[in-house]
């Protein structure tokens, strides 16, 4: 084995307790990082999936006057949706589309009332874009009546077969109210669908709003990451409409994820500082304890750069092995949660929707290989850099002084 590597490895093994302690700090940090990143990814991805599968599709087409601040205003209605649909039908990259009529209302069980979002769906084509209809757990969506989230039903103390009053504004601006029979309950992975929405046949929605338009045409494409370029292409044929990609509609989710990962970064920076201080300290102690050996190596004719290298290798071994152990430990924890998920209900009661993310119930962690690789590379880099100072100290020592030290 190469001298430098041999000496570095043996030196690490020599002060086992100190080496293990430095290892542990680093391993713990890396393990926490791997685990947290996977969790954040699980939450973010699941939130976006819920949004895409229950609310937005890969993108929505809306009227040009659609105002995000007044999302359910009646002026947003598109009356000639068939034009849009015929364009979408011709595009090969559009994998499915459906139209929805969305408005806000109040649900009333004659004692309490709660605000809700009412969604008229095209029963035949909704499944081409959304997975809502798979999650109607009791009953079904019919030409008459409505389905509501099971949680909303619990809050209003109603069940399938009961009726609720829905109060809303018609297209003309008049306040109106209808009685709707509940024909099914939604029990899905999306907290929003379970807690605040009422779904009905789009024909009923049109009838009660006294309109023949829709508010949204949602579609899915071949590659959702490329949604912006598909929208660019579609805009050429559909100039009179506004387009809302999932990226745009989910930006609050991505911002949330970013802000949470900022917290994660602070944690990582904090641990990095501890690791750097730990490594510098360990290595400096190692240098001063080995003064006589350094002097001996110099006497044997080892060049300064090789002596320096011994300490750098020692540092990078601490980094490499420490983070490897951390990655293994972190991956084991992550693996458990990737398989079994984290049960938010048992953790924070109710359906566990108050985590800021659009998730509920059991949320699974997701692997983030790039973060694992980054953690590994960064650990080695950081510990090697941290070893530079002690290594430099080692070669600067005067050979004859080193040999005079009593150790």
């Amino acid at each position: 084995m190469n001298n430098n590597l041999l000496l570095a490895v043996r030196n690490l093994l020599r002060y086992k307790r100190r080496t293990i302690l430095t290892f542990l700090v680093l391993s713990f940090g890396v393990a926490m990082y791997v685990f947290q990143i996977s969790f954040l990814k699980g939450f973010t991805d699941k939130s976006l999936e819920n949004m895409i599968n229950f609310e937005t599709g890969h993108a929505k087409i809306r009227s040009l006057t659609y105002d995000d601040n007044e999302p359910y205003a009646v002026k947003n209605i598109i009356t000639n949706s068939s034009v849009i649909k015929s364009v979408l039908k011709k595009k090969k990259y559009v994998k499915g589309y459906t139209e929805r009529l969305m408005f806000i209302g109040e649900l009333d069980n004659s004692t309490d009332s709660v605000p809700c979002i009412a969604v008229g769906i095209d029963i035949k084509t909704d499944k081409n874009v959304f997975s809502l209809t798979q999650f109607i757990s009791k009953g079904s969506i019919k030409t008459n009546g409505a389905v509501i989230g099971y949680k909303l039903a619990e809050d209003l103390k109603v069940g399938v077969g009961d009726s609720l009053y829905l109060t809303f504004r018609t297209e003309a601006g008049m306040i109106d109210s209808v009685s709707l029979e509940i024909t099914g309950l939604i029990n899905s992975s999306d907290p929003k669908a379970n807690t605040s929405n009422i779904y009905m046949n789009i024909d009923i929605a049109r009838k009660i709003l006294r309109t023949n338009g829709v508010t949204d045409i949602a579609f899915k494409v071949a590659d959702y990451m490329e949604i912006d370029s598909y929208i660019m292409a579609l805009k050429k044929s559909l100039a009179g409409y506004s387009f809302w990609s999932w990226k745009k509609l989910g930006d609050h989710m991505l911002a949330l994820s970013k802000s949470k990962s900022m917290g994660n970064y602070f944690f990582v920076i904090f641990l990095t500082i501890i690791a750097v201080v730990g490594v510098i300290n360990t290595m400096l102690m190692s240098v001063f304890e080995k003064k006589k050996e350094i002097g001996t190596l110099k006497a044997l004719g080892m060049r300064d750069k090789d002596i320096k290298r011994i300490f750098l290798i020692e540092g990078s071994l601490i980094g490499g092995l420490g983070s490897l152990i951390g990655i293994i430990a972190g991956s084991l924890i992550t693996w458990y949660f990737v398989e079994n998920g984290l049960d938010l209900v048992s953790m924070m009661g109710d359906i566990g929707k108050n985590v800021g993310f659009r998730v509920m119930g059991v949320v699974k962690a997701r692997w983030s290989p790039s973060s694992i690789v980054m953690a590994f590379v960064m650990s080695i880099l950081v510990t090697t850099l941290a070893s530079f100072y002690p290594a430099k100290k080692a070669v600067k020592l005067d050979a004859s002084e080193c040999l005079r030290t009593i150790q």
Binding site: N3, T296, A299
Partner: protein
């Protein structure tokens, strides 16, 4: 002439205090010498040996090794000179504790990079045999007695056939009997292999074994 020391002076500076450790040292070392550098503690033996061995530099004067002047050498050039010319033996043995006996003796050869692995291993085992350490090659230094450790360090100094071996009080940490066997071993190597030895000591018993002595007193040669 192997080594020529010409008017060497050395002053240590520690804080505000200056201490002159060597005054105008002149001496010659011939090939094949077995020379003792004698003097009480503090007389400058270590300082002089370190300067001869390129581990320390003199303030003035000149050192000529094998015809090469050692003035103005870079630290890498000095390292290479130590590697190529000198073997060192220390009072406290200075073996690398994490390396086995074999690896300690092998280290100078690995630094030289002149020998094949097979040659290296033959040379290491032969040298260990010469110093009477057969069969102990897998031990760690701390598993050996002081005398055995000093034998390892002699083997480490001799393995590369250096032009000169510098030994700084090689027997000072050993009892008299063991000390004498160590000097006998060095002398044996000097006589059989023609290795040049310069060793320091303040022990008159050890001095008696030398073929030539240089007496140092307060940093001056007092022959």
């Amino acid at each position: 002439m192997l080594l020529n020391v010409n008017g060497i002076n050395k002053t240590y500076h520690s804080g505000d205090v200056d201490f002159q450790a060597l005054y105008d040292i002149n001496l010659d070392i011939e090939k094949g010498e077995f020379t003792a550098l004698c003097g009480p503690s503090g007389s400058g033996k270590t300082t002089l040996l370190n300067i001869i061995g390129c581990l320390d530099s003199a303030d003035s004067g000149e050192l000529v090794l094998d015809g090469i002047s050692l003035t103005d050498k870079t630290s890498d050039e000095l390292a290479d000179l130590r590697r190529d010319y000198f073997g060192f033996i220390f009072q406290t043995y200075n073996l690398i504790p994490v390396l086995t006996v074999y690896e300690n003796v092998e280290l100078p050869l690995k630094l030289l990079k002149k020998h094949s692995p097979d040659e290296t291993s033959t040379m290491v085992f032969e040298t260990l045999k010469k110093v009477g350490l057969e069969g102990l090659d897998k031990r760690r230094p701390l598993e050996l007695s002081g005398g055995q450790q000093q034998r390892v360090s002699i083997a480490r100094a001799l393995v590369k056939n250096p032009k000169m071996v510098l030994a700084d009080e090689p027997t000072a940490n050993l009892d008299t009997k063991t000390g004498e066997t160590i000097v006998d071993l060095m002398k044996d190597m000097n006589e059989k292999e023609g290795v040049t030895f310069v060793f320091s000591t303040h022990d008159s018993l050890i001095m008696d074994h030398a073929k030539k002595t240089i007496n140092l007193r307060d940093g001056k040669i007092a022959n």
